[in-house]
Assembly symmetry: C2
């Protein structure tokens, strides 16, 4: 398959990046994974501007990555929280993959900020590419791209 001729209008990587590829989106998600739920917590912790945070939250909610919910503690007025949905948790391999890559290739002398561990077992957690059939972890050389049903080729250029 010659990738140069593949029409990538409908590429899933590009679509995913339309949701989480803007500046701050994945950092908002990182913080949400780590338990931050409220607008002002996110704003303070990320050091992001209000306009951008409100926009990113809108986008993530619209895409089903986060859920916007009102909640109320007794005797206090109602507030808003943002919860990670099942679809949002499906992005965990991406965020862990970035964390792992940063640790490996951009680490400093201080060592990693945090480590992700298997709860209970305590072993280190890693993001990998593996075969869904036999469960083996694969190197890039062991993977290949095959055409899918949605594949279209580019019109030939003059």
């Amino acid at each position: 398959m010659d990738w140069r001729q593949v029409e990538t209008d409908n590429c899933s990587v590009a679509r995913a990046l339309a949701v989480v590829g803007e500046k701050w989106s994945l950092l908002v998600l990182r913080d949400a994974f780590n338990g931050l739920r409220r607008y002002d917590e996110l704003r303070r912790h990320l050091g992001i501007s209000d306009a951008v945070l409100a926009d990113r939250l809108r986008t993530l909610v619209a895409a089903g990555v986060l859920e916007r919910r009102s909640y109320q503690e007794p005797g206090r007025r109602s507030r808003v929280e943002y919860l990670v949905t099942a679809a949002g948790w499906d992005l965990q391999p991406v965020v862990v993959g970035l964390l792992q890559w940063g640790d490996r290739h951009l680490g400093d002398d201080a060592g990693p900020l945090v480590e992700v561990r298997h709860r209970g077992c305590g072993g280190a957690v890693e993001a990998v590419v593996r075969c869904a059939e036999d469960g083996r972890v694969l190197t890039p050389a062991e993977t290949q791209l095959t055409p899918g049903p949605g594949l279209r080729l580019r019109p030939v250029e003059g």
Copy 2:
């Protein structure tokens, strides 16, 4: 561990995104993974402007994700190619993770554009989070964040 108090200047996710989080970076890498090597191929296939492509390639080369090499076919003048390095291939889980998420949650009726398969076995390939010790694939609930040596807390706010 209260993530709200964690100083994230040196967060590996943020550092990784400083390299691959700008617009187009991961799409350039997607195309490089899929075999595109030359500047003009990338430019044509991505539909990106020259200024941005040249800048992204510079950044990716500087970060060690791509390697810039001159090569020469006999009887032709020397040209430039960009090859994915070992560090670059370490980002495969991230790109496959995005592909997988896009397929799952943003797919259209036409079905996926391409499928990543285990060469030989032919099984579907997936990006997952797993325990490095026992090899088990983990749900988000089975993972936890633990403090690392580089962790610093925020100065208390007035």
